[in-house]
Symmetry: C2
Subunit: 499 residues, 2 copies
C-alpha cells in the first residue's frame, strides 16, 4: 500500500500513531491499533493505526503522521510512503495471557515493560495490562518480575557506598515530614541516603512540595549522584530524574479509574528504591482511623508482601506500623511544614515533638538494621544526632547543595490571610481527621500556594475550653480562605468529646 | 484558571479532549483524563484533559482544543477561556464497580452506554469497561441491561408489520451464504425480514461483501425502511445504518487484544436484532472441527444464553446447531459465492445443493416459528418457494431495489488468474478445513479483490483418484495467486484418507 504523507504538527506525547481515513481502513482491512511498518527510502518505523471519519484531516490515500513519527522517518507533506501490515507486538499476547488469568514470567513482563518504554503500546493496551493485574492480583514472583523489568528499563544511581539506605511512607498522614528529618539524621551518622520523593496527589503537601519551599528539588541524575556522594543525602523530586520511568507511564493510565493494584503499588515503590541502589529500606505504614490503611489486616498483608519481594530483589527491608490516626507535626501545607521541620531540627521550643520522636524512632530502626549501633541502641544514637544539632547542620549542608533559597524558619512566608477556628465547647479532642485536614488545606490553596495550610494548636487527647483556639487556616487568597473556613463546617476535622 | 486557546486543526474522532502543557498540569494538579468545564462567554463544554511534554504544541498558559471541542464552543486562536475542574462522570464509578466484581443494574449500564455514545468516555476508560466484562462475565440480567441500553441509544427501524423475522449466524463456515437465500425465501412467503449483515473480519467474505458484487449495500435507514416495507426484505450492510452505534464503539477497543466477552457478543448481536424491530429470530450455530464453536458444550451454553436473553428483551428466538465441519456451497470469495447463490436460486444444475438444503431447513424453522405453516410443514413451503422460482424472483426484486449492477450469474467477473490444485493420490475426502480455506482465499486477495477465492470441486466424503481436481484458486493478482498456491502446502486445507 502506498500513501501520501500529511505531517500533523502535533505529538501524541506517547505512542507512535499513524492516522488514515476510514475508507482506506475499510479497503485495506486495517483496524484501530493494528501495527504497520511505514517506509520512506531506507528509513522505516512501526506505528499504530488510528482511523478518522472526517475528510478534513486525512483524505483517502493520505496518511497523517504525528510529530513523533514524522521526525523519525523525516517525511514532508506529500512524500509517498509504503505501508506494510506488521505483526502485533508479542507483549500484547502476554497482556492477553494475564487477562485470561495465567501467570507471567520475567521475560514476558520484561517484554511488556520494554514495549511500554519504547512507546510501542497504546493507552488502551496499557489499560488492559493494568486491568489484568487489578483483577488477577500479581503473585510475589510476578511482582518481583515487574519490579526487575521496571528497574532494568530505567537508569540506576551510581553510589560509592556498600550500604545505601532508603525510606518510604505509604502516606495519608497530614504534615508527616519525617523524610526531611530522617535524611539529615541518617546522613549525619555517616550513612548514605539518596532520597527521592513525590509531590502531593491528594494531600496538602508531598515531601517535594515542602522541600521546595527551601531549595531546588528538580535535580538531574548526575547532580543528585554528586550531592549524595559528597553530603551523604539529598531531598530530590523523583519526577525530575529518569529512574523507573515505566512506572510513571503505568500510573498515568491507572488514574482515570483511580486503580492501584497491589502488585503495581509494590513494584512501583520497590523499583524506585532499587533504582537508587538501596540496600536497606525502612517502610512506614501509618494505620488506624483516617489513615490510608485503616485495617490492621491489610497493613500486615502489605508488610509481608514488602518484606517478601524486597528479599527477592536484594533489599533488606523493615516495615514499621505507626499511628496514623492524626496529623504529625503542627503545620500542614508546604510553608508551615517547612517551618516545623527547621524549628524541630534546631531543637527550638516551637519544634514539633511528635515529628521529632517519630523521626528518631525510624532512624533508630535504620541504625539497628545496618548494624551501625548495638541492637536496641539505634534510637539513642538518633536522639544524640538530633539534640546535638548535628542533624540540623547536615540538613543545612544538603539544602545548600541544592541551592537553598531559605535556611531560617523566620524567612518563610506563611499565607497573608488567616482565620482562627475556636472550640465551640469544653471537652477533650477525640479525633483529628487527616482526610478532612488535607482537604481544607487544599481548598485554602495548598500545595500550589505554598503559604496555604493549617496550623494545629491542639492534638488528640488535649483538653480544651470553650473558645480555645483549635487551629488557624492560612491562605494567600481571601476567597480561598473563605471557602476553607466554610468547609470546616461540613468536613468537621476535629471531634471534641464532653468530659 | 484562565487559558489562551490554540485550536488544533485535527479531531480525535472520539472523545472531547483538551491538551495542556505538563507545567500547567503540575501547577493546577490536573491529570490525564480529568474532566474540565471549558467556558467561553455563555458557551460551555466538558472535555477530558490530556497532557503534553512538548513546548511545540501548547505552551504553559495555553490550552489546545481539538476540532470537536473548538467547533462546539466556537473559539479562535488566542481567545481566553475559563477552566473549572469537573467531577468525573458517574459512569466511571460504575465501570470501577464492575471491575471490582459487582453487578451492574440497568441504570448503571445505561449511564455507561449514554456517556459512550456522547463521547464522554476516553478509550482507556472504555477499555476498562471491556476488561471488566471480560474478566467478570456479565450475568443474564446484565447482558439484558446492556442490550436494552445499546438499543435505547441508537435508532430503531419502523416496520409496518406485527411479525418481523431476523436471522443470525455465528459464522466461521466458509461460503455459508444462507442469508442471501433465506431473505428472498422468507419475503416471498409474505413475511418481513429487514436484514443487516457485516463484512468479513477474518473470513474470505462476509454477507455484505458478497451482496456488494451484485448491488449497493450502503443504504440509509430511511431507504432500508422503504425497501423493506415494499419488497418485504433487504440485504444491507449494518455499518452504513445508525442502528446500535454503541456496539461499534465497544468493538473498536476490543480489537487490540481480540477480546470478545460472551456478554458483549450476545448484547451486540441481540441489540442489532432489536433495533430492526425483530420479533422472531433464528440463530445458526455451526459446530464441529474447523468451525468457530468446536465444542458442543460451548454451543449449548450459547444456545441457552441466546434463548434466555432474547425472551427477556421480547424476541422469540430459536437456535439451530448445524454442521460446521466444512464449507457450504462450492464458491468461496465474494464473486464466486454470488454466482453460487444466483445459480442455486435459479435451480440451475450448477447450483450448490448443500446451500439450498440448509437454507430450506432454516426457512422451514422460521415458518414453523411464526406459525405460517402447520407444525412440521415449514420446510415443505420453503422448498416449494425455492423450486417454483418465487425465491429467485423475490431476490431479483430486492437487489433491483438496491440498484443492482448485475443480475445474471454469467455477468460476474471471476479472478483473471487461476490455478487448479489436484489430488496427490487416490482416497476419500476426510476433511475440508474452513479456517485454511478462508486463509488461502484472503491470501489470494479476498474480500477486497471480489474475484479472488476458491472454487471447490470436492466435498467431505467424496472419493477422488490421483490427479483429480480438488479445487481452483482465483485471483486478479498473479503475485497473490502464487502466494496462495504456496500456502496450500503448509495450510493443507483438504485431508485425503486412503481407502
Amino acid at each position: 500500500m502506498k500513501f501520501r504523507v500529511k505531517n500533523l504538527a502535533i505529538g501524541t506525547g506517547n505512542t507512535m500513531i499513524a492516522l488514515i481515513n476510514y475508507i482506506d481502513a475499510d479497503k485495506y482491512d486495517l483496524h484501530f491499533s493494528d501495527r504497520v511498518r511505514i517506509r520512506k527510502g531506507k528509513r522505516e518505523i512501526i506505528a499504530s493505526i488510528d482511523i478518522t471519519d472526517s475528510h478534513e484531516i486525512v483524505l483517502p490515500g493520505q496518511i497523517g503522521l504525528f510529530e513523533e513519527v514524522y521526525r523519525e522517518i523525516r517525511t514532508r507533506d506529500d512524500d509517498i510512503v509504503t505501508i506494510h501490515i506488521d505483526e502485533k507486538p508479542l507483549s500484547l499476547h502476554y497482556i492477553r495471557k494475564k487477562l485470561d488469568g495465567h501467570k507471567l514470567k520475567y521475560d514476558e513482563m520484561k517484554a511488556i515493560v520494554d514495549d511500554l518504554i519504547k512507546n510501542k503500546l497504546t493507552d488502551v493496551e496499557l489499560a488492559y495490562f493494568v486491568a489484568s493485574t487489578y483483577m488477577h492480583e500479581m503473585t510475589v514472583d510476578e511482582t518481583v518480575a515487574l519490579t526487575r523489568a521496571i528497574v532494568k528499563t530505567g537508569e540506576t544511581l551510581r553510589i560509592k557506598s556498600k550500604i545505601v539506605v532508603d525510606k518510604h511512607c505509604i502516606g495519608g498522614v497530614a504534615g508527616n515530614r519525617t523524610t526531611m528529618m530522617l535524611v539529615p539524621i541518617v546522613a549525619a551518622a555517616g550513612l548514605v541516603i539518596p532520597k527521592t520523593s513525590s509531590r502531593a496527589i491528594t494531600s496538602a503537601a508531598g515531601t517535594s512540595d515542602t522541600v521546595e519551599v527551601l531549595c531546588d528539588v528538580c535535580l538531574s541524575k548526575d547532580r543528585m549522584e554528586s550531592i549524595v556522594n559528597t553530603a551523604g543525602g539529598c531531598l530530590v523530586w523523583g519526577g525530575a530524574v529518569n529512574l523507573a520511568p515505566a512506572d510513571d507511564k503505568i500510573i498515568r493510565v491507572e488514574r482515570p479509574l483511580s486503580l492501584d493494584p497491589l502488585g503495581q503499588l509494590l513494584a512501583s515503590i520497590l523499583a524506585k528504591k532499587k533504582s537508587v541502589s538501596a540496600t536497606h529500606l525502612i517502610i512506614d505504614i501509618p494505620i488506624g482511623r483516617g489513615s490510608k490503611t485503616e485495617s490492621k489486616k491489610k497493613a500486615y498483608l502489605l508488610k509481608r508482601r514488602f518484606e517478601n519481594i524486597s528479599k527477592k530483589i536484594g533489599i533488606n527491608t523493615r516495615v514499621v506500623l505507626t499511628d496514623g490516626t492524626q496529623p504529625v507535626g503542627n503545620g500542614i501545607g508546604p510553608a508551615l511544614e517547612a517551618r516545623d521541620v527547621l524549628w524541630t531540627l534546631q531543637n527550638s521550643v516551637r519544634g514539633a515533638n511528635d515529628l521529632k520522636e517519630k523521626s528518631i524512632m525510624l532512624a533508630g530502626e535504620i541504625f539497628d538494621m545496618v548494624k551501625k549501633t548495638r541492637k536496641g541502641e539505634g534510637k539513642k544514637l538518633a536522639r544524640e544526632i538530633v539534640e546535638s544539632g548535628k542533624a540540623y547542620l547536615k540538613f543545612i549542608e544538603i539544602i545548600k547543595a541544592q541551592d537553598a533559597k531559605i535556611i531560617y524558619p523566620e524567612q518563610i512566608d506563611i499565607g497573608e490571610f488567616s482565620h482562627a477556628i475556636e472550640s465551640p465547647r469544653m471537652g477533650r479532642i477525640a479525633h483529628v481527621d487527616n482526610k478532612a485536614v488535607n482537604r481544607i488545606c487544599r481548598i485554602a490553596g495548598a500545595p500550589h500556594d505554598h503559604g496555604a495550610g493549617i496550623y494545629l494548636e491542639v492534638h488528640k487527647g488535649d483538653l480544651v475550653k470553650k473558645r480555645n483556639k483549635l487551629f488557624t487556616i492560612y491562605s494567600n487568597s481571601k476567597e480561598r480562605l473563605k471557602y476553607a473556613v466554610e468547609a470546616v463546617k461540613y468536613l468537621e476535622p476535629i471531634e471534641i468529646k464532653a468530659v
